[in-house]
Every structure is written in C-alpha cells, then in structure tokens.
C-alpha cells in the first residue's frame, strides 16, 4: 500500500508549465487513442441518460444515442412511485440512511483511530491486528447470525440493523485510513497540548479532529456513496415499501413494470444515481486521490 502512497498531484505543476507548448504528434496520437477509449467507456452512461428522454418504443431496435422524439413521460412514470409509495419517500429514506451513516462512520472511526494511533495502552497492537484482519473478512460469514440477532430484537424492518455497525466503527477501512493519516501528523502537537494541560479528550477534539479533516472528508464521501448504492443490506432488512431505499425500490419497480418499459426503469435508475454523480463532480479530486493513496475500492 505504501508503495502507492505518493502525491498524484505532484505532476500538476510540471504539466502546467507545458501548456504553452505546441501540440506534438505524440500528443495528438495520445488524445485520439484515449478519446476512443473514453467514448467506449462512457457510451453506456450517455446511452442511459439520453434513452430516458426517448419513448420506450424507440429505446430498443437501435444503438442511437440521440432521441428522435424528446419526451419526459419516463420521468413522470418514475416519479410516480410504486404501489402507492412516492418516489420521494424512497429518496428520503436513502438520504436519511446515508447521512446518518456518514455521521456514524466518521465519528466512530475517528475515535477508534485516535486510540490506535495516539494512545499507548496494553493490547493496542493486538487490537490493531484484529482490526486489520476484519478488513479481509468476507461479510457473508456474519450476516446470518446478525440477521438472527436483529430478528430476535424485533429490529428487522427498521433502519437500526443498517446503521448500528456504522456507529460502531465496523467499517475497518475508514479506521485504517484515519490511523494512517494520524500517524503522519507530528507528535509534537500532542506533547504541546499535554504540557498545556489538555487530556486525551481535549487533544482529540481540539487538535486531532481539525487536522484530520481531509481523511474525514474522504471517509464521508465514500460512506455516503457506498450507503447510497448499497443493495444487500436494505434487501435483507427492509420489508415494508415505505422504508425502501432507492436501490431496492428500483428493483421492485423493475419487477413490477412491464418488461417493455425500459424508459421508466432507466429514468428511475438515473434519478437514483443523481446524488452520486453530483458527489463525483464536486469531490472527484478527493475520490480519485483517495483511491490513489489508500487503495479504496470504487
């Protein structure tokens, strides 16, 4: 991992100084090749977006991107909701879950990371090893007993099973990310705070947390997007359509709409992805650098 830890941004200055130069043949070839790949890669996204403005009958039967007749009826269908539950209910459920998950993950991971990175107490190394071990553990081995437990507590069909782990720092990846970040912060800060009479709580809250901001932002963005896109958790625990998040609502919509209504399905797919696209546009630097330096999966 640390082999990948370098600043991808470091070449920006170098590139900027080249901007005035004339285009070389090599550079033109480069752009032609990369643009060709880009068109292939982004074709599905473009096709999805543009198809939502076509009447369903025009979606199949051709590979064209641009709609011949523009319509917004697909969006009307999608926003109409399913089985008496409004689209906005699903949107609201997804938002509540994602926002609470962000708060839970950021808070609990930062607390755990401070213990791992900055407090000297017996057993710390062993706990850290265990935490790293959970990174590689497939979640399938815990879902069945977890389900049995939440079922016994009457928590199936509530948001609790989807949120509890987030508030208990079970997303080891973010704990690890913050530990790595904190280890890079100078120890002198803690020492100075201690000499000034600050205890661990004060040091954590007033010194570490503000400095940890880049790692907190990266964790928050990834948590939001992963929670927003999560399918398995809501599929297991949410039974009542009033509680559905967008991914499982979309699945229900696909199951219930007639198989020819690809327009409506894709309109809802697009609507479900809009927040993710917005996050991507706003925070792409954080996202891509988060992957480059920490190997966060997409």
């Amino acid at each position: 991992m640390s082999a990948t830890q370098l600043l991808v941004t470091s070449d920006r200055g170098r590139r900027r100084s080249r901007d005035r130069r004339r285009w070389t043949l090599k550079e033109v070839v480069f752009h032609v090749v990369v643009l060709a790949i880009l068109i292939v890669i982004l074709y599905p996204v473009a096709w999805m977006l543009l198809s939502t403005f076509k009447p369903s009958s025009q979606i199949v039967g051709n590979a064209e991107l641009l709609p011949r007749d523009v319509t917004i009826e697909n969006y009307e269908t999608a926003l109409g909701g399913i089985g008496g539950v409004s689209f906005w209910t699903f949107f609201q459920n997804s938002t509540i879950l994602a926002v609470l998950s962000v708060i839970g993950v950021v808070l609990s991971s930062a607390l755990a990371a401070y213990a791992f990175a900055r407090i000297d107490f017996p057993g710390r190394t062993a706990y850290f090893g265990i935490m790293i071990g959970t990174l590689l553990l497939p979640f399938h081995v815990v879902i069945i007993p977890q389900y049995i437990m939440f079922n016994a507590f009457g928590m199936v069909n509530t948001f609790t099973p989807l949120l509890l782990g987030k508030f208990l720092a079970t997303e080891a990846f973010f704990v690890f990310l913050m530990v790595q970040f904190m280890r890079g912060l100078p120890r002198e800060l803690d020492e100075a705070a201690r000499i000034d009479g600050a205890g661990h709580y004060r040091t954590f809250w007033s010194i570490m947390l503000p400095l940890l901001k880049p790692a907190l932002v990266t964790s928050a963005i990834f948590t939001f997007i992963w929670t927003w896109n999560d399918f398995f958790g809501p599929l297991l625990y949410l039974k009542d359509p009033d509680l559905y998040t967008l991914p499982i609502a979309l699945r229900l919509f696909v199951d219930q709409s007639s198989s020819a209504d690809y327009g409506g399905q894709m309109a809802m797919a697009v609507l479900a992805l809009i927040p993710v696209f917005l996050f991507f546009l706003i925070f792409q630097r954080y996202l891509v650098d988060g992957v480059a330096t920490q190997g966060l999966k997409g």
């Binding site: 991992m1 640390s2 082999a3 990948t4 070449d11 090599k26 752009h31 790949i37 880009l38 982004l42 599905p44 996204v45 096709w47 979606i59 039967g61 590979a63 609990s108 607390l111 755990a112 407090i119 107490f121 017996p122 090893g129 959970t134 590689l136 553990l137 497939p138 399938h140 081995v141 815990v142 069945i144 007993p145 977890q146 049995i148 437990m149 782990g165 508030f167 720092a169 079970t170 690890f176 120890r187 205890g199 661990h200 954590f204 399918f231 398995f232 967008l246 991914p247 499982i248 979309l250 699945r251 696909v254 797919a269 992805l273 993710v276 792409q284 891509v288 992957v291 999966k297 997409g298």
Partner: protein
C-alpha cells in the same frame, strides 16, 4: 490493507517519556482513555463480528430455519454441499468470473494506466472520467442499464447485427450472461487504474534512461523495469480485486431478475448463499457455505502472500 506492509506502531518508549513521578497516573489515564476511545469499535467487533463468527461456525453444524431451535447434525451440511448440483454450479460460475474477469479487468487497468502515464494535457480529466464507472458500477442502476443494453434488439444486439453477427440479446442466453457480467467488471477498471498510475509515477526515470543508453527497446524496458517496479502495486490490485470479485451480488441479482438464471448461468456463490439462507431459511446450510467461502478466501490470501516473495519486488523498502 495488507497486513505485512503496515509499519508497526512506533514503540512508545522512544517518544519523550513523561516525567518519572507522574508516570503511574499517566499510564492509568492512558489505559482508561484508550478503552474509552476504542469502546465503539470494541463493542462493534464483539457484537457484530466476533460473536456472529462464532455463532455461524456453530450454525454450520446444525439445521436451523429461524423458527425452531437449531438441531445438531455434525458434518452433514458440508457433506450435502458436495453433492448439491446447484452448489457446484455456484462455484463454477464464481470461479469463471474471478479467474477470467479479474485478470481482464487488471489488464485493462494497466494498459490504460500506461497510456495515461504519458501525462499530456488533460490526463487528470481522463483519469477522473475513467474512474467514474468504478464508482457507480456495482449499483442497481447500472445493472438495470446493463441489462437494457443487452436485451433482444438492444443497442449491443443492434451493433452485432450491423457487423453481421447472429441476432439475439445476451440477457436470455446462458452462454452469454457470463461474458456480459465480465464486461461489466472490466468496465469498472478505473479504480485499479488509478492505483497503477500512482505506482507508475514512482518508477524512477533514471532507470529508463539508463536502459535506453544500454540499447533496450520499449518491450524490454516494460518487462525489465516497469513490471518489477510495479509488482507491489500489481500484487495489491490482484489481491483486492480477487477478493472483491468473490463478493459480487447486486449486478448478478438484478440482471437475472433475482433468479441466478437463465439456466443457473449467473448463480454466483453469494446469490446461492442468499437464496439458501434468506429465501429457503436453511440457515445452517448457508452458514456452512459462508465458512467455506471464508476458508477459500483466507487460503487464497495466504497463497498470494507466500508467492509474493517470489515475484514481488520491494526496491530497498524505500517506499515504506
């Protein structure tokens, strides 16, 4: 991510020891604060990871349907698994996906990373754009779109007809659902590509210059410099992507309409586990499946780390 690349926590003794008389109090404070800060994680680990792991190990040796108490059956679940044709099919589907999909995805990631590494104007933009599919690829939305692209007379069918291939969508054809899902995996090459790019930037330029002086061509340079220098990153990507590939769920679930079909061609391990555990409520059987998956992934991880000594090149450890 990987256990042995982590720097061990700095030995605390070396860091400005507190004044001797205060030491006992300070130490007690540290222990207390340590457990207070670690409390959420510790509770989460015991309640949601360790406890459930022990429970599922027990359940793997029982018959349990969530409604009546578990019945101890010994190794019965494990014996039955090996004569369950659906289970064997699930392994086959998953193995093909992992063994074909992962190398293709990493090859695409490395190939595009090598091109982008030229670092011309616009490289940053391309890097972000190529990353986008990784961010959305596992979502239900993309699975819905992917399915729509590969239906009869969908865009892919139109293109293949245009080039004179036999007509027909891929969604209903058991021989083509796997290629379709592998394409979806390869489409998400952006995340490993970003990691490869970061690794490529660390290869010292002097090595290439020295090789040029010695008369090495581009292929020789790639094989003798790029690949060895990049091997820690290749190792990291390979391990991460392999483990992730075992856990694909949403795309297969949506594309098969929640069936694992047609003709069980998308019956991934995770899908079958879900069916057994949460559709048929055979929770003992599903727990046995989960434990076999854990052991297989653990075994693969160990093999990766063992073999890494033979092919992963850590250049003087200066990267750590």
């Amino acid at each position: 991510m990987t256990v042995d690349t982590l720097a061990p926590p700095a030995p605390p003794e070396q860091l400005t020891p507190p004044p001797a008389p205060r030491r006992p109090r300070r130490r007690w404070e540290d222990i207390r604060a340590g457990y207070v800060f670690l409390a959420p994680w510790l509770v989460g680990f015991l309640l949601l990871t360790a406890g459930p792991m022990v429970a599922s190990l027990y359940l793997a040796f029982t018959d349990y349907n969530l409604f009546s108490p578990p019945q101890w059956v010994g190794f019965d679940n494990f014996v039955r698994l090996w004569s369950d044709p659906d289970y064997l099919q699930a392994w086959k589907v998953t193995a093909v996906y992992v063994l074909v999909g992962t190398p293709l995805k990493l090859a695409a990631a490395l190939g595009v990373a090598l091109i982008l590494n030229a670092a011309f104007r616009g490289s940053g933009f391309y890097r972000s754009a190529f990353y986008l599919p990784s961010l959305v690829g596992a979502s239900v939305s993309i699975a819905v779109v992917w399915k729509a692209m590969f239906i009869d007379d969908g865009p892919v069918d139109s293109i293949q007809q245009f080039f004179g291939f036999p007509a027909g969508g891929w969604v209903g054809d058991p021989d083509k659902t796997m290629p379709m899902l592998i394409l979806l995996a390869v489409w998400q090459f952006g995340a490993p590509m970003v990691i490869f790019l970061a690794g490529l930037k660390q290869v010292p330029h002097e090595l290439y210059e020295a090789a040029s002086v010695d008369g090495a061509g581009p292929i020789r340079k790639f094989a003798a410099i790029t690949i060895p220098m990049l091997s820690p990153v290749i190792f990291f990507n390979l391990l991460l992507e392999t483990i992730n590939a075992f856990q694909v769920f949403a795309s297969a679930f949506i594309i098969s309409g929640g069936t694992g079909g047609p003709a069980r061609s998308t019956l991934f391990y995770t899908l079958y586990l879900y069916f057994r555990g949460f559709r048929d409520f055979q929770m003992g059987y599903a727990s046995a499946m989960a434990w076999i998956l854990v052991l297989v992934i653990a075994f693969i991880t160990v093999i990766f780390f063992r073999s890494s000594r033979l092919w992963v090149h850590y250049a003087g450890d200066e990267g750590r």
